[in-house]
């Protein structure tokens, strides 16, 4: 959407004629994992690979940082992928197409560094993406962006079991090779994504110049330990606790190369070989007791109200 139209759109919005943040589509991708296409033209127009956003479901909800899976500037929508785990994301899962989210703000953080690299230089690079669980969602727009510029990247998608592998078909449309790994061997390679990195490099003779790993913190830690063996530069996308997402609160402090960085404004992507993952893992668990309590309260309420899980 061009700027002028956007402006008209917002004039209407200001007159109360358009309500933003409508859920246009919702799709269940796996048990407890769903995608939503949300009407947010300003965010759609400015989003880039590597960035994230913040959603508030309703009046009393918290600010939930979520990854951007896709964006459509024509339609003015942004796709988010959510795993319903805590009370806030489970509350979000109750929303259906046609409902409105209270707030939807972004894009936040710095775009992936390749976005600003010279395309010709970039074309020479052999890129490997490693996506763990819902990490496939933020990996997708990066691989798609490269695809649109004629660059084919390889992607490893890993999950615990077959039904938790998401976005495989979409990924195949934009990636070079897509390799699937499951911890239980129910689909694809039987083992961890780290085992498959070894497999590709040691047994299949693959060579890569850069790796991007996105998934659970613990997975990113082990991917980095693995790629370090091969001197393979690795970018990770961190998902620490955040409140505002604009640099105000400092909750997302992370130590990178001995320096304190705010993941929301300096990241979320960092050189994985410099990230202090042990500290990051501890910091991520900071509100575990409160989250547990919220979840219990939520479950009680669900029972009382008969809300489907």
């Amino acid at each position: 959407m061009i700027i002028k139209e956007l402006s008209n759109y917002y004039q209407n919005f200001n007159k109360g004629e358009v309500q933003l943040f409508k859920i246009v589509r919702k799709e269940i991708l796996a048990p407890n994992i769903f995608s939503m296409d949300v009407l947010a033209p300003r965010v759609a127009a400015s989003a880039k690979p590597g960035q994230f956003l913040i959603v508030i479901a309703d009046e009393k909800g918290e600010r939930i940082p979520l990854t951007i899976c896709d964006y459509d500037t024509e339609e003015g929508t942004v796709q988010i992928v959510v795993q319903a785990a805590g009370s806030s994301t489970r509350r979000l899962a109750e929303f259906e197409a046609g409902d409105y989210l209270k707030d939807f703000v972004g894009p936040l953080g710095v775009p992936s560094k390749f976005v600003n690299e010279d395309i010709e230089e970039l074309k020479k690079k052999r890129m490997l993406f490693v996506a763990g669980g819902v990490g496939a969602a933020p990996v997708y727009p990066q691989v798609k962006w490269l695809h649109e510029r004629g660059i084919k990247a390889d992607v490893i998608i890993g999950a615990k079991t077959k039904e938790l592998i998401i976005l495989e078909d979409k990924m195949r449309e934009v990636a070079g090779n897509v390799y699937v790994c499951t911890d239980d061997g129910s689909y694809g390679f039987h083992g961890m994504v780290t085992n498959y990195i070894d497999e590709l490099i040691n047994n299949q003779g693959k060579q890569y110049d850069e790796c991007v790993a996105i998934g659970p913190m613990i997975m990113m830690k082990f991917v980095c330990l693995t790629t370090k063996k091969y001197n393979l530069p690795t970018t990770v996308s961190l998902n620490p606790i955040m409140v505002d997402g604009t640099g105000m609160c400092g909750a997302c402090r992370v130590t990178v190369g001995g320096e304190t960085k705010f993941a929301c404004v300096h990241g979320p992507e960092f050189d994985g070989h410099l990230v202090d993952f042990d500290e990051a893992l501890k910091r991520q668990a900071q509100y575990r007791d409160e989250e547990k309590k919220n979840l219990e309260t939520y479950e009680c309420r669900c029972k009382a109200e008969g809300v489907r899980k």
């Binding site: 200001n14 640099g247 105000m248 992370v254």
Partner: protein, 466 residues
């Protein structure tokens, strides 16, 4: 009413009892009754050349509004205030009057200065409670101005321009308008639903549009605003980045910036069980710093049930916080550990704070700020057991806008450079408040917003209406 007024003695004001208020987030100061306000207003000498007025950053005609209160015409008092300020109910509560208007009140030479702030608050509250609509708007002039940030500077600039007939849109990064009034200053000092929201509603009534969830520099850039048809932009994005000390252990669990702690509590309403956002407060909290934000964080932690210490490296005399805030904090049982400075935070095996290593300080020669410089006493280090540390060391401007706007100059503290009118290095771009000065007060930001509104009005008139 009492027959004679003691000209030199301030009319006392009701406050919530400290024992009671440490268990709630309701406002501490309860405000004057009509009789009390009139009695206090009648102390004003109505000076021909008032010395209070130059002390006010927005030049409120103080004797005039006070005279109306003295006469019992509270509505007219509110109208006078509205000529000068968009936020009287806020300023009456949070301005440092003791260093401004009240400092220069002539009565202060022999006794108590007139309680100008409390009277301002009274008139504003009275008008709101009685449904008085203040502020007149000129017919639309068709010119569009964008305001970045809905804190005190942005609100003031928007209000002034709207009254002149401009079409004003405010872009706010957070999901609630109000800036520091909403995320920073706690409920017990500045009630949100009662005071802040009506001020915002009043702004909307003047025709100002507010778009929340727009981060300028990310969602939209300043250049895109001009492309969208805005003819001038005012940046009032505040000073939102928290400072840390840079000492070992600062990233342990249980160390928070005051910004995080207060944002969770105020904006996200973590103190209420029915809101999702959690807040952590341990049994024993150390708040590092001595400003108003430190007092706010300390008093919030106290209300959440903790034993709270203010840890400050100078003495009580140098505390930058308002005297009233320090007084209230003490009443609430906050312990002041002066001449103390943490040099390391010590964690347990799970990465949680268990203590701070501190040193004792003494005061040396005055430094550049005029305050005596704190010097570490050698060998004085000791262990201070705490489970939560809140850093209230000040804030700096967010670089987001400057870094995405070509030609917008900043100084080495990241503050946007402007002239005295609020003009930046980019044509049509104006700025004011903490984004320009670094962290300061609500009223100074309002003064800057007001000044910039004048400059924007001149700029647009010169450019388009020749």
């Amino acid at each position: 009413m009492a027959a004679a007024i003691d000209r030199f003695k301030r009319t006392p004001i009701a406050e919530q009892d400290p024992e009671e208020r440490i268990h709630n987030f309701d406002e501490v100061c309860l405000g004057y009754t009509e009789e009390e306000a009139m009695r206090e207003a009648q102390r004003c000498l109505n000076c021909k050349n008032p010395s209070c007025r130059p002390g006010c950053p927005v030049s409120i005609d103080i004797p005039r509004f006070i005279k109306h209160i003295a006469d019992g015409d509270f509505e007219e008092a509110a109208h006078v205030l509205a000529e000068f300020t968009a936020l009287p109910a806020v300023c009456g509560r949070v301005c440092p009057q003791e260093n401004q208007c009240e400092k220069t009140c002539v009565l202060g030479k022999k006794g108590d200065p007139v309680a100008i702030g409390k009277l301002e608050r009274f008139a504003a509250d009275w008008a709101r409670e009685h449904g008085i609509k203040v502020g007149k708007v000129k017919p639309s002039n068709g010119h569009r101005v964008a305001i970045v940030g809905s804190g005190p500077a942005g609100i003031t600039c928007a209000g002034e321009l709207a009254k002149e007939g401009y079409e004003v849109t405010i872009f706010e990064a957070l999901h609630e308008p109000g800036g520091v009034l909403v995320y920073g200053i706690p409920e017990f000092r500045l009630p949100k639903d009662k005071v802040v929201k009506p001020e915002i509603e009043n702004l909307k009534r003047l025709g100002v549009k507010i778009e929340t969830d727009v981060i300028v520099g990310k969602t939209i850039t300043i250049d895109q605003m001009f492309e969208e048809g805005f003819e001038a932009v005012f940046i009032g994005s505040g000073a939102g980045l928290p400072k840390f000390m840079g000492i070992p252990g600062e990233n342990l669990n249980g160390v928070f910036s005051a910004n995080e702690f207060l944002t969770r509590n105020n904006l996200m309403k973590a103190y209420r069980d029915d809101y999702e956002t959690p807040i952590k407060v341990g049994k024993k909290v150390a708040v590092i710093g001595g400003g108003n934000v430190a007092m706010d964080a300390a008093r919030t932690a106290r209300r959440l049930g903790a034993e709270v210490h203010i840890v400050y490296r100078r003495t009580e005399k140098e505390l930058p916080a308002r005297v009233e805030e320090v007084h209230h904090a003490k009443e609430e049982g906050i312990i002041f550990d002066m001449l103390t400075n943490p040099i390391e935070i010590i964690g347990d095996e799970n990465g949680w704070v268990k203590a701070m290593k501190c040193v004792r300080m003494e005061l040396g020669e005055p430094d550049a700020s005029g305050r005596r410089r704190p010097i570490e006493i050698k060998g004085s280090d000791f262990i201070f057991e705490v489970d939560t540390v809140i850093m209230a060391l000040g804030t700096t401007p967010n670089p987001l806008i400057a870094s995405t706007t070509d030609g917008l100059k900043t100084n080495n503290h990241g503050c946007i450079i402007t002239d005295e009118m609020g003009r930046t290095s980019r044509e049509g771009v104006f700025a004011g408040g903490d984004a320009v000065t670094g962290a300061a007060t609500v009223i100074l930001a309002m003064g800057a917003g007001k000044q910039a509104a004048k400059a924007i009005d001149e700029y647009i008139k010169n450019k388009y209406n020749k």
